[in-house]
């Protein structure tokens, strides 16, 4: 061991002592394994750096180059013909084997998929949604219904549900006289109620007018005689005989959910079907909310 090496190692010892001093002054707990490993690493770096640099400095002092030169040289600078180092060769071979594995197994089986992540998220969300809203109370449904209504329904029916002066169904009343007359004149069969299609022109003239006025005014006062034509399907009270035909008196779950599912084309315009855009619970919540709008 020559003098240079002793000096270098002494410098390393000084560095290590200084490190210890800093570690102590910062109250770092060396019994913690991570801190201990880091400390050992710091010592190793100091020792190895000192030793390796001194080794090469000594070599540079005495070493001379020899070996067979390659044919080409650039302005007098040549290159030795060295054997391929075996470590390098094995690493290269290893990379090739890893490449084959990655190509056929690694990437195809472990690749990140945006759609896969989306599917997992949706599945997890739906599961949570179903668990949370298994038996929702009416107030929870109303709250949910309102938020859905504001996003999906308000662009046509307005934020208050008044149908924006005749641009869509007005949820604050059941039907206007014009709407009822239109349905009486043209019939209706869009919501697949068990009673089936309502034929066009069941009543006409004064009878239709009287019925429409009576229904539009909220079925108050004396029931017109002509309503018997409606009663066979819609019931004597006009409430649709518990879901057999549309309820003329008020909004009920059946008519809201069926309209959301099938969409509707009427006097005011066309409503698209929301079948694929709402879950059954969401449809029920909309119904719960719409019933509060009157």
């Amino acid at each position: 061991m020559n003098g240079l090496m002793i000096k270098a190692l002494s410098f390393a010892v000084v560095l290590i002592l200084a490190t210890f001093y800093v570690v102590n002054s910062m109250n770092i707990d060396l019994s913690d394994p991570i801190n201990m490993i880091t400390m050992i690493g710091a010592i190793a770096i100091a020792v190895i750096t000192a030793g390796v640099s001194v080794k090469y400095i000594n070599q540079m002092k005495s070493d001379t180059a020899d070996g067979k030169l390659a044919e080409e040289n650039w302005d007098g600078i040549g290159e030795y013909l060295n054997e391929l180092p075996s470590g390098w060769a094995f690493s290269f071979l290893g990379t090739m084997i890893w490449g084959v594995w990655y190509w056929f197994i690694g990437y195809p089986l472990n690749a990140f998929s945006q759609i896969g992540q989306y599917n997992e998220e949706v599945l997890a969300y739906n599961k949570k949604f179903e668990a949370t809203y298994k038996n929702p109370s009416v107030s929870v449904l109303k709250e949910m219904g309102e938020s859905i209504f504001l996003v999906k329904c308000a662009p046509c029916h307005g934020t208050t549900g008044d149908g924006l002066s005749g641009k869509a169904q007005d949820f604050t009343t059941r039907m206007s006289k014009a709407q009822i007359l239109d349905i009486i004149a043209n019939g209706s069969n869009q919501l697949s109620y068990p009673m089936g299609a309502m034929p066009a022109g069941m009543v006409s003239g004064d009878d239709a007018n009287v019925i429409a006025t009576w229904i539009a005014s909220g079925m108050k006062g004396e029931k017109p005689v002509a309503f018997t034509a409606c009663a066979s399907c819609h019931g004597e009270d006009g409430k649709g005989m518990a879901g057999m035909a549309p309820n003329l008196a008020e909004y009920d779950d059946t008519i809201i959910i069926k309209t959301l599912e099938h969409g509707k084309k009427g006097k005011l315009g066309t409503m698209p079907s929301f079948k694929t855009m709402l879950t059954p619970v969401q449809a029920k919540s909309l119904s719960a909310y719409i019933k509060t709008l009157k």
Partner: protein
């Protein structure tokens, strides 16, 4: 063995280029070919729809509206199924857009209707009180350029082999036939519209831009 390459930087560069290009090709091309294939059931645009697409481009709808639903739950809840690359196979150019001042329109045909578009394009705040979208009243008077739309369809059929005039598909036909078909399609749309001037224009054989635009928007599903 390869010492000669070190003496020839040009050939060395060519070699590097070939290696990298090969890796790029086998990584990119198969996926690209797969993804750009039309999804099953996709039909090319009719002439009227193409005329509407021209209006969409002309008035630069894509600077505020995107046509690309990303696979995030929040987006699919609001707009519907996420977009697939094969759905844009007949979009030349695609109108993905990159900014959403307004909502995404890629499936607007599923949840908006002709009458809604009519009211909304004439006066957006009439249906959406907080809307900052400008009114497009000139769509109700400007006449749609059916001729350019036909030329576009004819060109993509001839150059890119877009499947017009196939059985069960969209018929393109001659210019005279195409005009008649576009008018018939326009009449179906005006049946659901209220604006008297637009209805009269279509009756007299002219197609206002709003009708073409609604045909295009209804087609986005």
């Amino acid at each position: 063995m390869f010492h000669w390459l070190e003496k020839n930087p040009f050939f060395f560069s060519v070699g590097v280029f070939i290696v990298i290009a090969f890796a790029g090709l086998i990584e990119i091309l198969p996926n690209f070919a797969e993804a750009s294939r039309p999804v099953q059931g996709l039909k090319p645009y009719t002439v009227l729809e193409l005329a509407g697409k021209e209006v969409y481009k002309k008035d630069n709808c894509m600077s505020c509206h995107s046509q690309m639903i990303r696979p995030f739950k929040s987006e699919t809840d609001r707009y519907g199924q996420y977009s697939l690359s094969g759905e844009y196979a007949y979009d030349r150019p695609f109108l993905w857009g990159s900014k959403r001042t307004g909502p995404d329109l890629h499936r607007v045909g599923n949840y908006r209707t002709t009458d809604w578009h009519e009211t909304h394009m004439f006066e957006p705040t009439a249906v959406v009180p907080s809307s900052i979208m400008p009114a497009y009243k000139h769509h109700f008077t400007n006449i749609a350029d059916i001729e350019t739309a036909y030329a576009e369809a004819f060109t993509v059929k001839a150059v890119f082999n877009t499947p017009y005039d196939v059985e069960g598909g969209v018929k393109l036909g001659t210019w005279e036939e195409a005009q008649k078909m576009a008018l018939a399609e326009a009449k179906l749309i005006t049946a659901d519209m209220k604006n008297k001037n637009v209805k009269d224009a279509v009756e007299s054989g002219k197609i206002p831009e709003i009708v073409a635009l609604i045909a295009y928007l209804n087609r986005l599903k």
